[in-house]
Amino acid sequence: MIQLEISDKHQETFNNAMLLAEHMMRPYSRKYDKEEHTYPTEMDEVVKLLAGGRSAGSSTGGASAAESSAVVNGGNMAAVIGLQALAWGDLGLFLGMPANGLGNAAIQAVGTLAQREKYGTSYAAMCITEPGTGSDSANIATTAVRDGDEWVLNGEKIYVTSGQWADTLVVWATLDKSLGKAAIKSFIVEKGTPGCEVTRLERKMGIRASDTAAITFSDCRIPADNILGSAELAADAEGRKKAFGGVMQTFDNTRPPVAAMALGVGRAALDLASELLTEEGVSPDYNRKPCNVSAVEAELYRLEAEWEGARLLTLKAAWMADNKQPNSKEASMCKAKAGRMGNRVTLRCVELCQSLGYSESRLLEKFARDSKIIDIFEGTQQIQQLIVARRILGKSSSELK
């Protein structure tokens, strides 16, 4: 039955996360925006509370998923709903939290039982991007060479979220560059392994509470078992294509959560801007047609509409994942729409509130700086458009480049 309100259980998840966001994250937003690269000790408590909530939530989630063919509102939906709230609190602080990142998602998705037990809930960071390789992640140059019972890694990784504080790294490396993307595998590297070194922390426009590190691997030796997935190289081109496709599919699960980050930051800006505009007597009542109201009011309606559209696309993508429907197109749609919405909404809210929006005395300018990265990481706007376009038009990546 078509019904687009979230379940009571998920509403509770949201409400609880909003409490944490409002009282335990937002008060430190400005502090760690100013004190870039300082460890936000206040978040340790939030992480503990979240971990408790997660283990409580996952047991009941599993039970409902087991019930025959009924519709499921499960973990993927809970993730985007909770994440929206935490990103409303503070995107940077959220991104810096252990066990919430892409590294954990990868280990959970493709790790063996032993790997999941050992590293699944560790503080895991993901190392994909290199100085010469961004969106074209099939082109990475970091190498992994088998030497006895070990893999030897060499290369440089950049833009590693939480690379500084993480204790586990998931590193993409190639077994043989000449074989292209088929030879790309991911490896688990424990921080502190000789040869693995954090060389730099980026100084960024936004999400300053989240560290972004450059990490080099120089003859870094890890146990042979630390490869994620099979070490085999598929014999034919078809098999190799499939293997990389599997790696990339991790993103289908992580794009809706990133879209949810844009929902959180966008909502934060809308909430704050509405508050400031109310003080000036602007009170949107959703009554007269948008062309018959003041420009400010009309703009608020448009921004709210954009936000709502992005929210529903995100819920749909997560709902499809919960119900085991392939959602690659929808995951990219929600990331594309939410990414550009978050940026547009936050920038317009700054403009609507004029000097108050631009001033560091409020948080609107910070939201506008933070929002930009959401339209870039986990696949830029343009990469999402490519994916959606290829699906709609039935094009291969060699036809639509």
Partner: protein, 371 residues
């Protein structure tokens, strides 16, 4: 959001009934609507007998009580928007014409009194098309449905109606017209106007688009209506009427935009320039991707608002936002549809220019196609 709905789950699955009518509506839109859309646009009217065919779909009688000859199904704004969406894939104007009687019927069920229901609803259960419609809009710049100029004065024997309504679907032929007006001293009211009483003048409009629909401007000069003509007993719930209509208008937008996307998708894949299909170019492909993305967002917003209405929950704000989104993005999809076909899109041999003209109406229409 604190009210409790223990079994409520987010779900995008159609019911079995909705799946079945999805198939039949799509079939009807393909074979009976799309096929005559262009010729009707040129002729400024559908072929004779078109609306009688739509009567076979039985849309108007679905929620009429069995005692009055209807199907007696529960009012379902969700099913309504799904049906309208499918029909509009054939043609926006013809779809709107086909569901105009439903708007009259739904409003009567919603806000009429028993006597009115018993008098009028059986007419719609005889298997023939009854030209019934709703008249809300008025011809002036900055028109807003919250401020109607058309007015009625109550007298001992009935009402006297004055004012001008425009963009009235089926307005030239309607046997029954529900006219929304200000009732002096009593707020908004709706009046059932039968046929063409003295002082009521219908003029066929000629608009940029929706030419298949034969929209009419109707002028009322001291039109006298009996006391029973006033819908219901209390003040007319104009907000609810407008909101339900905006669900229908949103569905019209979604269906038409789906037609644009499907058409453009095939065209850019087939059209070759510089030695390869133009869809191999990002500037083209990204426009198609954005169309698909915004269309899906529009659809989900309309569905959500309709579902809230169906559950008897507050649906005003979500409806307003869906209307804003559809008004903006439907036009963008319409204009991009023409753009992607280039000069061919500007010529009438392709339907995209017609969709462009029709979609301009989405942000303007109000008070029609009530879900």
């Amino acid at each position: 959001m604190s009210s409790s709905h223990p079994d409520r789950l987010f779900d995008l699955t159609r019911t079995d009934d909705q799946r079945m009518s999805h198939e039949s509506m799509q079939r009807f839109a393909d074979s009976e609507i799309r096929s005559i859309a262009r010729s009707s646009d040129e002729a400024g009217a559908p072929p004779v007998g078109f609306y009688d065919k739509t009567a076979e779909l039985g849309l108007a009688l679905l929620s009429i009580p069995e005692a009055l000859g209807g199907a007696g199904m529960e009012r379902s704004p969700v099913s309504s928007v799904l049906n309208i969406e499918d029909l509009a894939k054939g043609d926006l104007g013809l779809a709107l014409g086909a569901v105009s009687p439903q708007a009259f019927v739904n409003t009567l069920i919603d806000q009429g009194n028993d006597a009115q229901r018993e008098q009028y609803l059986p007419l719609f259960c005889e298997g023939t098309f009854v030209a019934a419609t709703t008249a809300l809009m008025e011809p002036r710049a900055m028109f807003d449905p919250t401020e109607l100029h058309c007015n009625a004065i109550e007298e001992e024997q009935g009402y006297v109606l004055n004012g001008i309504k425009c963009m009235v679907p089926l307005g030239m032929d309607a046997q029954l017209t529900l006219v929304i007006a200000r009732l002096k001293g009593q707020g908004n009211a709706a009046f059932i106007v039968e046929g063409t009483p003295q002082g009521m003048i219908r003029t066929e409009e000629s608009n940029m688009g929706l030419r298949t629909l034969q929209l009419a401007t109707i002028e009322f000069t001291n039109v006298r209506l009996p006391l029973e003509a006033r819908l219901g007993h209390d003040e007319f719930d104009l907000q609810r009427f407008i909101d339900l209509s905006r669900l229908g208008i949103g569905a019209l937008a979604v269906g038409t935009c789906q037609a644009v996307l499907d058409y453009v998708k095939d065209y850019v894949n087939e059209r070759v320039a510089f030695g390869e299909p133009i869809s191999n170019r990002q500037s083209v492909a990204f426009m198609v991707a954005d169309m698909a993305t915004e269309l899906e967002a529009m659809r989900l917003m309309v569905w959500r608002a309709a579902s809230l209405a169906e559950q008897g929950l507050e649906f005003h704000r979500p409806t307003y936002l869906a209307h804003v989104a559809c008004g903006e993005h439907a036009m963008k999809i319409g204009t991009d549809g023409v753009q992607l076909l280039g000069g061919h899109g500007f010529c009438r041999e392709h339907p995209v220019e017609m969709w462009y003209r029709n979609l301009r109406a989405i942000a303007i229409l109000d008070g029609v196609a009530s879900a």
